[in-house]
Point group: none
Chain length 225, copies 4
DNA sequence: GTGGTCTAGACCACA
DNA sequence: GTGGTCTAGACCACG
C-alpha cells in the first residue's frame, strides 16, 4: 500500500541510504559522493533536504565536506563510527542478533529462489562476484565484492522485495564487514555451486551456515574488543 | 519536542495499521473500532489526523461510519475491497508473488528459530492457536486464529524483527485468507510438532510447504475468478 | 558604511535580537512571541531562517515551542540560561567587566546629551518610566521598566547610534537584571533630575555611579552564588 | 568546517577594514598594500574574495591597482572619496553628528578608565604617540599619529570592547582628519597629563572637549566647502 | 562548479 | 491558524 513511505523523515531516510553505500563499501573511505545537486535529484528531493541528510552523516563521523572545485562529501576513515558501533555492541548485542535472525530469513529465501529461478546471466554475475572476491586486495575491495555477491543472489531470486531487504540489512551491518573471514570466498563458491545445481535446499542451507559463521565471528570480535 | 514527528503521512500510516487489523480478522466484518478519541490516543495522534485515516478506509470501502449513539466505525462486508483486489490480482499477480517470496523467507526463519528457542510458554500459546483454529466456526474466526498461529511462531522465534515482518506481511495479505484451505489446521499442527520436537529444518520445511500451498490456492482462485 | 551588517549570520543575529527582548523583559517568562510568519516578516527574513533563530533560543533554553492554535514560541522560566550564565560568570568575569566598561561609555554619553537636548516629551517619557519602576510589582515589571528608563534616556540624547548601543548592551546583560537593587528607583530619579536641570556633567556622573553600583552588585552576586 | 562562514558579505567587510587602514593613515596616499596573497591569508579569505574587496575600493576611488613587477594596490590621492564625502556631509550632517555623539561616549570612557588603570608601559606608548605627533611632518604622519594616540588611550583603558569601538569609529571618520587642528598636539598632551595624574574625571573631560573641537572644526569645514 | 546560506511558498499535522 | 517539513531557486564565498 504505502510500500515506499515507511514513515521516516526524508533526511533520516536519505542518510540511511547513503550510510548503506558506505557500509557496503560502494563508496569506500576517501571516496567522494556525487555533488549535492546530483544527489538531490537522484533522491527526488530538494537540495536543502539532502543537505540535512549529509549533516547527519557528518555528525556521525561518516563523511567530511570540503568546498571549492574538487570539493564534495568525502567518506572518512570511519574511525568514529567504528568506535561508536563497538561500544554499542559491547553493551548490547541483542539488536545485532535480531538483525542476523532477519538476515538468515531473507538470504536463505533469496538463495532458495535463486536456485529455482536463476538465469544464465544471473550465474555469470554471481560467478564474477565470487571471482572478484577471491582476487580482491584491500579491505575495501573485499567488503565491496562480498556485499555484491549477496546482492547478486537476491537479484537471481527474482524477488524485488527480497532484494530490497537484503540491501537494507546489509546497509545496517556496517563495519563488521571490516573483518571478513578468510573462508568467505569458499562459502560463496559453495553457495554458488548449489544455486547452479538448482538445489534450493542445499543453497539455502549453505547460505544459513555462511551467515551464522559471520554472526559468530562478530560475536567473538565484540567480546575481545 | 518534535522527536517523532514524521512530517507527513501519518494518516496513511494509521490507515495501514487499521487495515491490517481488518485483514487479519482482528476486527471482523460487522465489528466496530474503538471510539475516535480512544483510537487517536492509542496512535498518539490528534483526532483530526485519525479522522483522515478513517476517511481513507471509508473510501476504500473497508469501513462505514455511523453517527449517533451506538455509532462508530464499522467494518463492512468487504465486498468492495475484495472486488478491487481480485481485479488487481488478475491483471498482475507479480506483487502477490513478491509478497509470498518474502513471506517464505521470514516465516521459514521464524519457524526455524522457534524450533531452536521456544519456551514452554511459547508452546502453550502455539498449541492454543492451533486448537482454536480446529474448532473455529465462521470465516472470521478461521481468519483470526490462522493469523494468530503465525504470530505465535514468530514470537517464539525470539526475534522482534521477524515478528514485525510476519505481522506486516500478514497485514498486506487481506482477503486471500478468506479462502482458507481445509487442511490448514493440519499444516499448523505439523509445524507445531516440528517446533516442539526442536527440529528447525523440519519446522521451516513444513512452514514453507504450508505457505506455498496457500500461494497456489490463491493463484487458482484468481484464475477462476 | 555597512552599519547594519556586522557580519553575523542572519539566524544568530535574529536570535540575538529575540534574546534581547527576553533579557530586557519586553517578553517576560510565560510570554509569547508573535507567530513565525509575522516575526519573519518583521525581520525581513524568510520563515526558514527565522526558524533557525528560534531553534537556537530553544536549545539555549530560552523558549519552548508549542503547536496548534494558541501555539507559538513561549519564553520559559529561564532556569537553564540563568544557570549557564552564572557558571560562565563565576569562571570568568572579564567579559562582564568589558561589557560594563562599554556600558559606562555609551550611557554616560546618552545621559550627557539627553541633559543638553531633551525635549519636554522626552521628559514626560523618562518620568513615566521612573514612576512605573517605583510602583512596579514582580521581577518582570521591574526588569522591564528599568530597561525602559535607560532606553528613554538614550532616546532623549537624540543619537540613534547611542540608542542602538544602549539597547545592544542591555540585550547582552540578561539575568543580572533579575537582581535589581532596591535603590534603583532613587538612582533613576536622581539621573532624571539632572537631565531636567540640563546639567550634562551631573547627569553623566550619576549615570556612571548607577551603572558602577550595578556592576558591583553583580560581582557580589557571582561571588556568593 | 563552516565555523566562521558568515555567508555573504565578506568582500564588504574586508573592504571596510582596508578602508579603515586608509582613513587612519596606516596606509597613506601613495602607499602600497601587501600582495593579494598575503592580504587574503591575513583575512583568512580566498584570493577571489579579496579581489572583490579591492574592486570595491577601486570603484570608490580609494586605490588603484597596477600590474606587473612593483605592481599592487596603491592608495590614491583620495580626491574622489574626499569629494564624495564633502557632498554627502553638505547634504546631511546628521550621520556625522551621530558618529561624534558615539565617539564622545566611547573615548570619554576610554580616557576615564585609562586614568584609572594605566600601567607604566601604557604611559610610555601614549607619550610616544604624543611626541611623534608633535614632530610629525606632512598630513599623512599627522593623521597616523593622531589616530595612534587615541588607540593607545583605548588600550590603556584595558577594555577590548572600547578599543574596538574606538578603532571602528576612527575607521568611519575618514578625511576630516585631513584637516587636523593645530592645537591637537596640545590637546593630546593635556589628556595624557590627566591620565598620568590618575584623574579620570579630568581625562574624560578633556577628551570630550578635544572631540567636540574636532566636531566643530569639521562642521565649519563642511559649511565653507 | 563546488558547498554555504537565504528566500518564497507550499502542504501537512496539530489542537 | 499554529508550528513542522519539504521544494525550488537564487546568490555568495570558495579554491
Amino acid at each position: 500500500m504505502n510500500s515506499d513511505a515507511r514513515g521516516q523523515q526524508m533526511p533520516a531516510r536519505i542518510a540511511a541510504e547513503l550510510r548503506t553505500l558506505i557500509h557496503t563499501g560502494t563508496v569506500p573511505p576517501g571516496g567522494r559522493f556525487q555533488g549535492e545537486r546530483e544527489l538531490a535529484q537522484e533522491f527526488s528531493v530538494s537540495r536543502a533536504t539532502l543537505r540535512q541528510a549529509l549533516k547527519v552523516l557528518q555528525e556521525e563521523g561518516y563523511i567530511e565536506v570540503r568546498r571549492g572545485p574538487y570539493g564534495g562529501a568525502f567518506v572518512t576513515s570511519l574511525g568514529a563510527p567504528l568506535t561508536a558501533w563497538k561500544e554499542q555492541m559491547a553493551s548490547d548485542f541483542a539488536p545485532m542478533d535480531d538483525l542476523f535472525d532477519f538476515r538468515v530469513g531473507v538470504e536463505m529465501a533469496a538463495a532458495r529462489f535463486a536456485a529455482e529461478r536463476r538465469t544464465d546471466e544471473d550465474i555469470v554475475r554471481m560467478r564474477e562476484s565470487t571471482e572478484r572476491l577471491a582476487t580482491a586486495v584491500g579491505r575495501e575491495q573485499l567488503r565491496l565484492h562480498d556485499a555484491r555477491f549477496h546482492e547478486c543472489v537476491a537479484e537471481a531470486s527474482g524477488s524485488s522485495r527480497l532484494l530490497n531487504m537484503v540491501r537494507e540489512v546489509r546497509g545496517e551491518l556496517f563495519l563488521p564487514v571490516d573483518f571478513l573471514r578468510d573462508d568467505d570466498t569458499q562459502d560463496h563458491s559453495d553457495i554458488l555451486g548449489a544455486i547452479i545445481d538448482s538445489n534450493p535446499d542445499l543453497a539455502s542451507q549453505r547460505m544459513m551456515e555462511h551467515i551464522e559463521h559471520t554472526r559468530e565471528q562478530l560475536r567473538k570480535l565484540v567480546r575481545t574488543a
